[in-house]
Amino acid sequence: MTFLSALSQGPPRVVTAGAGLLDEALAAQAVPTTPVAWRPPLPGTADALARVLADPRRQAANELAVRRLTTARPRLVGVRRASEALAGPLDGAFLHAGPPITWERASGPMRGALVGAMMLEGRAGDEHEAARRLAAGEVALRPCHEHGAVGPMAGVVSPSMWLFEVRDEEHGGTAYCSLNEGLGKVLRYGAYGPEVLERLRWMDEVLGPVLAAALAAAGPLDLRALAAQALQMGDELHNRNRAATSLLLRALAPAVAEAAPDRAAQVLRFIDGNDHFFLNAGMAAAKAATDAARDVPGSSLVVAMARNGTDFGVQVSGLGGRWFTGPAGVPDGLYLGSYGPADANPDIGDSTITETAGLGGFAMAASPAIVRFVGGEVADAVRATLSMYEITLAEHPAYQIPGLGFRGTPVGVDVTLVARTGLLPVVNTGIAGRVPGTGQVGAGLVKPPVEAFTAALLALADEVSDPFENGHISTSARQ
């Protein structure tokens, strides 16, 4: 049946994009319409958009990429020391959050965390020596993302740190993330005082080995199922992980008690004392899922958003490991104690991997408890999530939001939709102090730089081979 003969069922609903007058003319004929609130795309993107949309590979490529992202089944399979898990890639180097960065361009918290890692590893006696050695280039700096890892805030990973190991049971990938140190003065926020190093040493000696033994006994944990439950308990899994941490603790507690009866209490107390303990496991799960969607030629799906405290970078499935960057913004949010915006460092951390995987800012509507951090009212949280459906390719089949009728969270940012709508991903984040050694000063929302997305779009357009020069006309006209 053609659409002409289908009209016997009544006038069709018409989607209208553009002149309001033409929509009104339909209304005057009692024809139902769905008007598009159309706006011009981001400046300078019109030609690239047409080229990328016309790429004959794109639709299937995006369907494949986003299917791989949403069908990933990340499971927590182990806890391992970085020197063992990433022996080859590390080889004396330190990993860090975000796109590649040098010591010269590194921000305060990034420098602080690198200094702390130097002292933790015994490669410097004090902060001055550490800074001198780092400035001299004695340690190679490499992005976590390029080695199957993610790191919160500064995201520095050095050989003696322990990592969550997450395996994607569906597609076979593995991803790592460090263990969460807690709040306050911590390495990931750039603090490196004695109490910071002392806690890291305890994590190395006690927390890591005990968790490793407990997980070996309790078997792999299904992080996808755990995150799905936590969403229904009020977490968005970036700025709020209280429910997820509780679920993780509940799942691990018996095995921890059995694996290390004499140290179980301090381990369980440490986890219980840190509402964000799950975040790092969740980040590794998100990394495993987004990595599954990488390297699909022609796909415009964003597979990483990450910041190093100086630059905000994105990676796109169809563009391999290339980074597209813009300056990291300063988050807008609530500050701890007497800190204020003047104390804030520009945005930092790989934790935007949660938004990349359809959580965090994208799942705000699931988490009314944290709306004060990020805009005030519950309605704002609902609005944030609803707006993200406009720039994503799918709704997550497992991650559902009860308050939206169990609708799946928006997942799979498409750079073409970012350019067409001008809407940028909503990112929830912590705020690090700009002076090295300060630690956390607040938490809130940050706007990614628009040029990271437009640069990625222009690069995608360059990859498309003459979509308008196919010349099938003469043959198809004869059919």
């Binding site: 069709p12 018409v14 002149a19």
Partner: protein, 461 residues
């Protein structure tokens, strides 16, 4: 004492027609001397400068608010109030988030058709969403690059979807008028049209003769070019062949590339239903159609369709105007429809014709069927030896009362005579009888047939 203000609002987008309404309402507000609210396109910036304003640097994506008024702040506030009223109301169930792309709108509610009228350089994205979703799309926008048109139509060919346009001014699908659309009774005639006003002329005459229309499928003026290859024309012919409501097909075509004309002729000859060709400009050398089904102008095409259906051809109504003043020497055509303009030029065989619906005049401003400004100015510029010939096209989306602005312009014009081709039906909201009466009062001769109007204009010389 009055003051003036020119504000630049970055990224505040509204379509040109809505902004024109805001500008007009603002200009008519007491205390306001001059006002224009418009996107900062090159053309609009020039117009605002012509109004005597100093325009700060602005990009085409920015909104300009220019007012000269006794109280400029109050005028800006009034502009803001009117702009706020343009914001679309949020659709139910999705509080605060209207769809921002055609793809998003399609996902939200089942739809049967998509109508795209965004600026031409951006139309591809929206139309592409429709074709990917398997929905027929009418692209009203002009200025779409031809390579993008071809790509869309190739994709549509793969997916079995009809793409109407770009630069498709009118369509009617099962009685639903899209774009500039006359109110037509349902009936046996299906139309495939490379020209919007051409289709409106043919169907309005058929309607006047009591013969209704099943569908009007516009294909856009470039569809029959070698580059596009007639893909939409061929698909539209197949759709009407399969459509049980259609008994006879009228094909309104512009001069086609020879190999495309051959393909279309072949396709038309292979149909079981009669196809009347309104071939504008020059006859197709390869036409194998029976002689009675080939028409040289739009009126003749309507007459051929009526005869092929075995129905009587009426005398097309006309309303005589006042006798011409002085000694008219030349015809000046001021048209809003490109095809009507070309047809009139051909029939009159002489004169100076301007199509104000051409891209050159509509970039960044509303179509002359909505915005009469340029033609009103041209009427005022006519000389005492001119016969001014112009079209007035009625129907949905067109000016709700074209006579209201044209009557004073016709009454004041220095021209020797004014002849109007009134394209419309008795069902149109503007009421052709009322429009004709008002124009005649002002001195114009009015014809329902454009070809007859052109002949009448020539007879006055």
């Amino acid at each position: 004492m009055s003051g003036e203000v020119v504000l630049v609002r970055q990224g505040a987008y509204h379509d040109s027609v809505q902004l024109m309404r805001v500008s007009r309402a603002l200009a008519e507000t007491p205390g306001v001397e001059a006002a224009m609210v418009a996107m900062a396109t090159e053309l609009n910036v020039a117009v605002i400068r012509d109004l005597g304003f100093t325009v700060p640097p602005a990009a085409p994506g920015d909104l300009l608010i220019a007012v000269r008024a006794a109280d400029p702040a109050a005028a800006v506030a009034e502009a803001d109030r009117r702009l706020a009223a343009l914001e679309p109301a949020a659709p139910g169930g999705e509080a605060g988030q209207p769809p921002l792309t055609t793809g998003s709108a399609i996902r939200r509610t089942p739809a049967g058709l998509v109508l795209v009228s965004v600026p031409g350089e951006h139309a591809f994205c929206e139309a592409h969403d429709a074709v990917l979703a398997g929905l027929p799309v009418m692209i009203f926008s002009d200025g779409v690059p031809v390579a993008q048109e071809r790509r869309l139509k190739e994709l549509a060919e793969q997916r079995g979807v009809l793409v109407m346009g770009p630069d498709c001014g009118t369509a009617s699908i099962g009685g639903v008028g899209l774009g500039f659309a006359n109110v037509l009774a349902p009936g046996p005639v299906g139309v495939v049209a490379a020209s919007g006003t051409g289709a409106q002329q043919v169907t309005s005459l058929l309607d006047w003769a009591g013969t209704g229309v099943s569908h009007i499928l516009g294909v856009g003026g470039r569809d029959l070019s070698a580059e596009v290859g007639g893909l939409s024309t061929l698909r539209a012919l197949r759709l009407l062949e399969e459509d049980p409501a259609t008994e006879l097909i009228v094909l309104v075509s512009k001069p086609a590339a020879p190999e495309v004309a051959r393909a279309v002729e072949e396709a038309a000859a292979g149909l079981s239903k009669p196809v009347v060709r309104a071939l504008l400009g020059r006859p197709s050398p390869a036409s194998s159609a029976p002689v009675g089904l080939v028409a040289a102008d739009l009126t003749a095409a309507a007459e051929a369709a009526l005869r092929a259906l075995g129905r009587p051809v009426p005398a097309w109504p006309s309303w005589p105007g006042r006798p011409p003043r002085g000694a008219p020497k030349a015809i000046k055509g001021l048209y809003s429809g490109g095809t009507l303009s070309a047809e009139a030029a051909l029939v009159a065989g002489q004169g100076d014709f301007v199509d104000y619906g051409d891209d050159a005049y509509t970039r960044g401003r509303a179509h002359p069927m909505i915005d009469p400004t340029l033609r009103v100015e041209a009427l005022a510029r006519a000389t005492e030896t001119d016969v001014v010939l112009l079209d007035v096209v009625l129907g949905h989306a067109a000016d709700p009362d074209p006579a209201a602005t044209l009557v004073p312009a016709v009454a004041r014009t220095p021209a020797a005579a004014v002849v109007v081709a009134l394209v419309g039906t008795e069902g149109d909201p503007q009421d052709p009888h009322r429009q004709a009466a008002a124009l005649r009062e002002a001195g114009a001769a009015v014809h329902l047939s454009n070809a007859q109007a052109a002949r009448h204009a020539r007879s006055l010389l």
